[in-house]
């Protein structure tokens, strides 16, 4: 019999307990990990590659949505929360189901059945784009989450100097370090505060308060000199945007 590798994520032991209890009758469910915060969840999901995750939303470190943003998307997710206001967002990220605490055994079984159906269909929709779309409507990002192996780096946007596009990745320069994240520069641009971050070039987003001065190199060709001396190219459109902001 093929087992369903399952992870239960909730910061409350009792809340994990009831999920585990309701899972006991199912012989094919194999709970491979229990996590009590967002970091643990990202680590466990990345390392153990489960088929199914029961995911709380309000947790220390990272919330449920942030956890999903950082892990591979080919898994079934059942959100378990006391808050009903996240339901729409949960289905936008293709959650299998959304259990509202407290829930009955019948409702729980139904969610599990849906998860099985989804897993048998095997193909998973491209969650990445959906996630970004859901993110875009929110307030500007205050921090960027980057996964490095099974570790999560939290980069507050205040610490970002600039972001450079590198193929499918963005390289985020912050406090002398470079963090690589699989994302398109244009998507990141949309989720950053346009008052603080400007796309100065096809390949660069600049944090405006890091700018020391602009230098003219040739006609219509400028360089942005940052406070730490870094030089970045500025396109004509980028220059227009900068001028508008300053």
């Amino acid at each position: 019999m093929q087992t369903i590798r399952t992870i239960v994520v909730d910061d409350e032991e009792l809340a994990r307990g009831i999920v585990l209890e309701f899972l006991t009758p199912y012989a094919d469910i194999n709970v491979v990990a229990e996590c009590s915060n967002g970091f643990e969840a990202v680590k466990a999901i990345t390392e153990l590659k489960p088929d199914l995750v029961f995911l709380d939303i309000q947790m220390p470190k990272l919330d449920g949505f942030e956890v999903l943003e950082l892990v591979d998307k080919n898994l079934a997710v059942i959100f378990v929360t006391a808050y009903d206001q996240y339901a729409v967002r949960a289905f936008e990220v293709h959650a299998v189901d959304y259990l509202l605490k407290p829930f009955t055994k019948e409702r729980f079984d139904e969610a599990l059945l849906r998860a099985r159906e989804k897993m048998s269909r095997s193909h998973t929709p491209p969650l990445d784009k959906v996630l970004t779309a859901a993110r875009r409507q929110e307030v500007p990002l205050e921090r960027i989450l980057v996964r490095d192996g099974s570790r999560v780096n939290v980069i507050p946007v205040d610490t970002i100097d600039y972001v450079e596009a590198q193929d499918d990745y963005v390289a985020i320069k912050s406090q002398g370090k470079t963090h690589l994240k699989q994302q398109r520069l244009s998507d990141l641009e949309l989720s950053l505060d346009p008052k603080r971050f400007v796309r100065i070039h096809r390949s660069y987003i600049l944090s405006v308060d890091r700018l020391a001065r602009l230098e003219l190199y040739a006609k219509d060709s400028r360089m942005a000199i940052l406070k730490d001396g870094t030089k970045l190219p500025v396109s004509r459109a980028g220059h227009a945007k900068l001028k508008r902001l300053l």
Partner: protein, 373 residues
């Protein structure tokens, strides 16, 4: 209601003024030696007082044609006609009075001399009528403004009451759902604990309903409610939640608005303990200095948490409530330092009466006998 007839004091003043006018009119009659003083007085005073009474009726005219809703020309014409009619009526009555005095043989040959004064009397009557009209308009304007002021005041009080009601802490439904979920889990894992939690929850709900209905409660009750809440949360969070409290004894008797602490405690859990992997300690400290009561609640926070997650409307509501009840005598300050979030309330320490009567000076009546530590 007639603004002068309906008010004894005003009526007395009004008639006194007319009595003086009567005296003046008598002087006008007597000084040119046309009339003797007794003649002049017995003519002028009764007639003037009578005229004063007649002129009171101009109020009804003023009411039908209010100052701001009628055209100026229309008003002028109206009152000129009314003035002449009224003063003519007065002259007629005056002639009757003269005839009566003559008939009684008190004063001889009165009517001939009275007729010579007719143009003067019509003029005086007209002027006095106009003055009465002006007085009526004045009183009406004054009363209208007083009334609108009162209505505005009433509306403000109503709005404030409604706002206070809205700001009063409501039981957070997520707290209820999470607690019920814990009970649901405990029923199979630990039935005794499930019962304990159910009872604590019932206790908390009953207390918060009872206390929430009052205007002010003793701080001791408010703290007991907060502790009750924290005990329930302790079942949920286990060892992640610890509580320390340090309360200066006499403060327990101070009166505070009910459920003032509750939003702060919820905030400390939701934005503090619940966001920390290892949880932490919630510290409650209550003391007083002079006539001011200090309530301080501290909780650890995750320094890496997103800053744009606001500390919540709970804190803002407490602030608004304090402002509505104590104006500038109370405040709530929040600070964050070294991973600790602090909410500090200072408010007038009161032990008796309603807190809506603001404490002006002097020490807290129940605390003053306690020496400072």
């Amino acid at each position: 209601m007639h603004p002068i007839l309906g008010n004894r004091e005003r009526l007395a003043i009004y008639m006194l003024v007319w009595l003086m006018l009567g005296g003046m009119l008598a002087a006008v009659f007597a000084l040119p030696k046309d009339f003797s003083w007794p003649e002049a007085l017995s003519l002028a005073v009764p007639l003037t007082l009578l005229y004063g009474s007649i002129c009171l009726s101009s109020y009804y005219l003023c009411r039908v044609f209010p100052l701001h809703k009628s055209g100026f020309a229309q008003l002028l014409l109206l009152h000129i006609i009314a003035g002449f009619l009224t003063s003519s009526l007065w002259i007629l009555i005056g002639n009757g009075w003269v005839a009566l005095l003559e008939r009684l043989n008190l004063f001889p040959l009165l009517s001939a001399r009275f007729v010579s004064k007719t143009p003067l009397l019509v003029g005086v009557g007209f002027i006095l009528f106009s003055l009465t009209v002006a007085v009526h308009y004045l009183i009406m304007t004054f009363e209208a403004s007083k009334e609108s002021e009162q209505r505005e005041l009433q509306l403000r009080i109503l709005a404030q009451e409604a706002e206070l009601k809205a700001l009063r802490a409501q039981i957070n439904p997520h707290f209820l759902f999470n607690s019920l979920n814990s009970i649901s889990a405990l029923t199979t894992q630990n039935a005794t604990a499930a019962r304990t939690m159910t009872l604590r929850l019932a206790d908390f709900l009953r207390k918060s309903l009872r206390l929430g209905a009052q205007d002010s409660i003793r701080l001791e009750e408010e703290i007991a409610l907060a502790m009750n809440f924290l005990e329930i949360e302790q079942i949920r969070f286990g060892s992640r939640l610890r509580v320390e409290k340090q309360i200066d004894g006499p403060c327990n008797n101070c009166l505070v608005p009910p459920l003032l602490l509750q939003p702060l405690v919820e905030n400390a859990i939701h934005h503090g303990i619940a966001q920390l992997v290892d949880g932490g300690i919630i510290r409650l400290r209550v003391d007083w200095s002079g006539s001011v009561l200090h309530i301080q609640l501290q909780n650890p926070v995750d320094p890496d948490r997103p800053k744009n997650r606001k500390s919540g409307i709970g804190i803002e509501n407490v602030r608004k409530r304090l402002r509505a009840i104590y104006y500038t005598d109370a405040e709530l300050l929040t600070t964050e330092e070294d991973g600790w979030f602090t909410a500090a309330i200072s408010l007038p320490a009161q032990t008796g009466g309603s807190y809506s009567h603001r404490l002006k000076r002097g020490g807290p009546n129940g605390l003053s006998d306690v020496s400072n530590k």
